[in-house]
């Protein structure tokens, strides 16, 4: 166990808690302040918070592993796809921010339910967001457990690592809410960027230089530098599918959706949109390069082994304490996502369930306390998932999360822009979209039906067509709440 690495890690965790205490000192002890920081997040903090929240443990481990298998073309899928997705900050984020400010919305289902004057739709929207987000919090705890085990050469168990990460995240979210979440995101975002760039420098130097590493890769693994990629995975249909998947699903991540509410003004959202292209261009190239280069040093990895390629490569060319700092960057990535997910799920259960159905006259202070209790309860639930073997359900939900959440996209667009849409159309759209996706996932529907595209394409066609058809065939909605 490298004590320098451990010390760095302890300082990092201490810094997170110190930031939370600072955020608590600036808080107003109301639910609006706790869940959306009193809609006061400025441009730079909002941008870094958006980025840190969006880039999770998967950015460090999953991207590198995918690039190991499929090659450098994976960069385009992630970088350009996510960069283009930021256009939704204009056509969704701006409207969500305006309506949130005007009507005091704090959660995504509040906006949807109020626009269509439907508690049923609000509950369906809530259920989809909770079902597909909770397993992802567990994923972050699992990532933390694995990373801490690596950091200590197995001297600290996976279980202890998962518990430690969860406890620290719960502590700073419970103390400081969205304000602490956003402030810690700034530090975590910077840490991610710096450690990933440093990792590229270290690994490329170890391989004989940046140009040399790329030249060797092209000579020894030519398929990994081509557009079709390893296993010729990337076809034009797959490429288009991923572009559409990010566009539809990313804004439907509840932790990103509520950040639009938290913005101080439109300028803050605008800056986030503009800066998303350069940040995705820089952040995503790092794990993808290291993952592809991994074939030069560790050829023939199979199964889930490629997901460990980034720490393996850094560990190969750098002393243990540097690997420790790199893993702290991975912790930053996963914690910045887990804290936001915990907070948003807590806000939804507080506002859309507790206040809506159990205690309608709850004050903001009361909601603030209930929200904190729910943060702890949700964290314990996700930890239980991470520590027990419910793999079938867990893996299914995790693998279906992106498309599962994308199904909410047509309903959200209709809520913001289409006056003829009604609750029947939206509820039918969500049910039809999820049903079609489950049909593909469980092989009830043949894969050939997707025509070479990922299931997200037929799923979105089904969800959109159902929304339009049912809305047109049923009565128009009553005047929305805005």
């Amino acid at each position: 166990m490298d004590m320098i690495a451990i010390s760095f890690f302890v300082i990092y965790l201490g810094a997170m808690l110190a930031i939370a205490v600072y955020a608590y000192g600036r808080s107003k002890r109301t639910s609006e302040d706790y869940f959306v920081a009193s809609r006061s997040i400025g441009p730079v903090v909002l941008f870094l918070s958006m980025a840190a929240t969006n880039f999770s443990a998967f950015t460090f481990f999953g991207f590198a592993g995918a690039a190991y298998k499929f090659g450098l073309a994976y960069y385009g899928i992630m970088a350009f796809g996510t960069g283009l997705m930021a256009l939704s900050f204009f056509f969704l984020g701006r409207q969500i921010w305006r309506l949130g400010k005007e009507h005091g919305y704090i959660t995504p289902p509040e906006l949807i339910g109020d626009r269509f004057r439907s508690d049923s739709l609000r509950m369906i929207f809530l259920a989809v967001m909770v079902v597909f987000t909770l397993p992802y919090i567990a994923t972050q705890a699992i990532g933390g457990g694995i990373a801490l085990t690596q950091l200590t050469d197995g001297e600290i168990s996976y279980e202890f690592g998962a518990v430690l990460v969860t406890v620290v995240v719960v502590a700073y979210v419970a103390i400081g809410g969205m304000r602490a979440d956003a402030y810690t995101d700034v530090l975590q975002g910077v840490m991610m960027l710096v450690t990933l760039l440093a990792a590229v420098g270290i690994v490329s130097a170890g391989l004989g230089g940046f140009t040399e590493a790329n030249t060797r890769l092209a000579e020894e693994f030519p398929e990994l530098v081509s557009r079709p990629g390893g296993l010729e995975y990337f076809t034009p249909q797959i490429w288009m599918s991923f572009m559409l998947l990010w566009l539809f699903c990313d804004p439907m991540f509840p932790q990103l959706f509520v950040r639009f509410y938290g913005a101080r003004d439109e300028r803050s959202i605008k800056l986030s949109m503009v800066m998303y292209a350069p940040i995705t261009a820089i952040i995503f190239i790092c794990p993808v390069l290291i993952g592809a280069w991994g074939n030069l040093q560790f050829p023939g990895l199979t199964g889930s082994q490629p997901d460990q390629i980034l720490p393996m490569m850094v560990g190969e060319f750098a002393p243990g304490w540097i690997l420790g700092i790199m893993l702290a960057g991975a912790f930053a990535a996963l914690m910045s996502t887990a804290d936001s997910q915990l907070l948003v799920l807590s806000s939804m259960l507080t506002r859309d369930v507790y206040k809506k159905w159990i205690k309608k006259n709850a004050s903001q202070t009361h909601e603030f306390i209930v929200g904190k209790i729910l943060v702890v309860a949700l964290a314990l639930m996700s930890l239980a998932i991470a520590l027990t073997s419910v793999e079938t359900l867990f893996e299914t939900l995790t693998k279906t999360t992106f498309t599962g959440l994308a199904v909410l996209f047509p309903t959200t667009v209709a809520a913001l822009y289409w006056k003829r849409a009604n609750k029947w159309g939206c509820m039918s759209s969500i049910v039809a979209g999820e049903a079609v996706y489950m049909g593909f996932y469980f092989n009830v529907l043949p894969a050939s039906l997707a025509g070479g595209f990922l299931p997200v394409v037929p799923v979105m066609i089904a969800a959109t067509a159902t929304l339009i058809a049912v809305s047109v065939l049923t009565s128009p909605r009553s005047a929305p709440g805005g």
Binding site: L72, A73, Y75, G76, A79, F80, G83, L84, A86, L87, F90, R94, R98, F210, T211, E212, A213, N214, T215, A218, P222, V225, S226, R227, P228, P236, W239, M240, M243, D265, E266, R267, K270, M273, V274, Y276, A277, P278, T280, A281, I285
Partner: protein, 67 residues
């Protein structure tokens, strides 16, 4: 610059350019030994950044108004 169809066309064109089927199997090395696909995506990202800047400056005004 104040017309929404102009921006719809500009972003759509960029999306279509990302699916450069005419160069699907190009893989020759470019700057720093990076293959064509990586350099091409970096260029597209730079173009996207420039478009966002112009979009924010000329279309998405601070009062939220558009043409």
């Amino acid at each position: 610059m104040k017309n929404k169809w102009f921006w719809a066309a500009a972003f759509s064109l960029l999306f279509v350019l990302s699916i450069d089927v005419w160069a699907w199997d190009w893989s020759w090395p470019t700057l720093f030994g990076l293959p064509y696909i990586v350099t091409y995506i970096i260029v597209l990202e730079a173009a996207l950044f420039a478009l966002y800047l112009l979009f924010a400056r000329y279309y998405w005004t601070d009062d939220g108004g558009e043409a």
